[in-house]
Symmetry: C2
Subunit: 372 residues, 2 copies
């Protein structure tokens, strides 16, 4: 029986027989912990505590099995990076193994904490209840800070809930980070005053190891209402760091850039629900952005639905967050999307909003009417 000092990972395994699946599961128990010939281990506590344990193994369909493997939480050293390593470090390099689901121990829930705001907190911040939230993006890369600020102003006048930097806006000469953030935050503030609404501006702070924390702090000071981060580029732990930083206290929008490798095969990598749902939440994402089905990306309806499950699946004290489908979405599809996702979602329309017409404020208003 699993004790509460252990966490579990459900892996799906390709295997021709139950015997092969057992071997594969046992190899995961070793690979993710001692990486050492079990027969040569002399210490009993290493054999019984450090090595992973197969808690359950069952067939899903011909050729595919589900293994529930538990690990002592001490193997993580109570650090997020090493938690990820035990979860899937070396096994990510082996074929036919996929992380499907994560079940945390109580102590790890308390340690990692998850999103500061979560879905409920975001609604409180934006005043958007009983409807999907809406978000748009400042783009294209190459525009000046002034031009982006004009755009931000127009978006905010339309009453969009969140305006995010396109995730490719970093510190390019066309719109350097500090200049852009100051101007866009001021523009959104001005519009908020005029409309008595509460649009949040979320600059992209993804950057070099050395600069990322100071960019977050600068953004906070400049009046940003949220932050955009791509953990595939920056690593996951800076997300956790920012979510827990009591001097920053801003909602975090996680962008999936450079994470695609994990979800490119149904038989390896990490499931959409575990990666964009559970792991993003664990790290501290208040919004988990992912490519919507039917756009220019390849996620299926079922995969998108599974992400929404990962955003709300019970994880002890870890708050639910909001799934953020985006990518190739347009105003034409919002009604269908609302039927599909319901209200617990934030819709991201970027380019599609510009394609709607020349008056961006009216397009945003139309966007908002469609979700109410």
């Amino acid at each position: 029986m699993k004790n509460n000092k252990r966490f579990s990972v459900h892996y799906s395994l390709l295997a021709k027989s139950l015997k092969e699946a057992k071997e594969k599961a046992w190899n995961i128990c070793i690979e993710q912990t001692i990486e050492f010939p079990y027969a040569l281990v002399k210490q009993e506590y290493i054999k019984h505590t450090v090595v992973g344990k197969i808690e359950n193994l069952k067939i899903i369909k011909t050729g595919k099995f589900l293994a529930d493997i538990s690990y002592d939480e001490k193997t993580t050293g109570f650090e997020f990076t090493q938690f990820l390593n035990v979860l899937f470090g070396n096994s990510s390099l082996k074929p036919g193994i996929r992380v499907e689901k994560i079940i945390l121990s109580t102590d790890l829930q308390k340690l990692f904490k998850g999103p500061r705001f979560g879905a409920a907190g975001l609604r409180k911040l934006t005043g958007a209840y009983n409807r999907p939230l809406i978000c748009s993006a400042l783009k294209p890369m190459g525009l000046s800070s002034n031009a982006l600020a004009v755009l931000a102003y127009k978006f905010a006048l339309g009453g969009v809930d969140i305006i995010k930097d396109d995730h490719g806006l970093a510190n390019q000469s066309w719109a350097p980070f500090k200049e852009r953030v100051v101007k866009c935050a001021a523009a959104v503030k001005k519009a908020n005053k005029e409309t008595i609404s509460n649009t949040l501006y979320a600059p992209n702070i993804t950057s070099d190891f050395k600069n990322i924390l100071s960019r977050a702090r600068f953004a906070k000071k400049a009046g940003a209402g949220a932050l955009v981060l791509s953990p595939g580029l920056s690593g996951f732990d800076i997300v956790r760091e920012l979510a827990n930083d009591n001097t920053i206290k801003l909602p975090l929008l996680l962008h999936p850039a450079f994470l695609g490798g994990f979800t490119s095969s149904p038989d390896s990598g990490i499931s959409h629900a575990a990666l964009y749902g559970q792991l993003a939440r664990l790290a501290g994402a208040d919004i988990s952005i992912f490519p919507n089905f039917g756009g220019r990306f390849s996620f299926s309806k079922a995969e998108c639905k599974s992400i929404t499950e990962g955003c709300k699946i019970k994880m002890g004290t870890i708050k639910n967050n909001l799934p953020g489908p985006g990518g190739g979405m347009s105003l034409d599809t919002i009604k269908t999307m609302k039927q599909f996702y319901g209200n617990n979602v934030i819709f991201l329309i970027g380019g599609g909003l510009f394609a709607d017409g020349t008056d961006i404020t009216s397009s945003v208003k139309k966007f908002k009417r469609l979700v109410i």
Copy 2:
């Protein structure tokens, strides 16, 4: 004609026809930069400078094409994270697109710098010339710092070139980071004195965002001769940061944990040569560890060979580094491996060395004899 302010990426593309391949390549030019409907872009410089350019497109085989796409280096904002984003951020989320090769602009070569030591520097540090270097790993997880130090001492007496922490040794209670590093570094120093050899001890510093730099500094002070890092867990940019830190100046061994998603399909992700070769080097890896063929992982001979190419392919001023095949290797296979890899390599044997017999120092000596 490509100017020297642009860098190029070779992508292989799945497409049914040249026409489809062209469309796919053009979509990458947009996706990796402006992420915006091209027809709606008003500024000429954005169209001509910011958007990527197809420099070349050719068929490789039926259904597969190679696109050479160039980007203005300004799109990177001269930051490594944003460079990775332009390289493959969003396109990693689309099927049938694979990064095959990276060709840097001169300024980016100068900016990122690459490994501090490289292959030649490592030979100078270890005094190992005209032969493969050899490396072993402290394990299993669960051993005390004292037990690991005893092991490190025995390894060093055998004359191994580098002793690395197993990449799963973090800051667990069984062997806390500081205690382990002090004891193992002292043990290796003692053995080095006795044998007049120059074994380097490489502790694993992969850890939380907040701790990773201070662990590197602590390790340096305690007498570590190199450092182990898993960029899949920590992000790539901390590697660049450490490689360029003039107060640390230690060779970096990069471990592939949690990077497997990128190389699990021949049609998507990042090629072995570009990921474990070029990108690891660019970030600053002096040694690029990867799973060897024939062991318990799934890399093929051709994939392993391609990594060795990526470790030495001309990248301007960026030094060559050493490929480090490991994982399920044993003394029995070293002769064959030497024939396959030649001398410009570092062999990693972990568990396999323990399996050889009870006297670990003799096993290391045997390992060394086999590579000379």
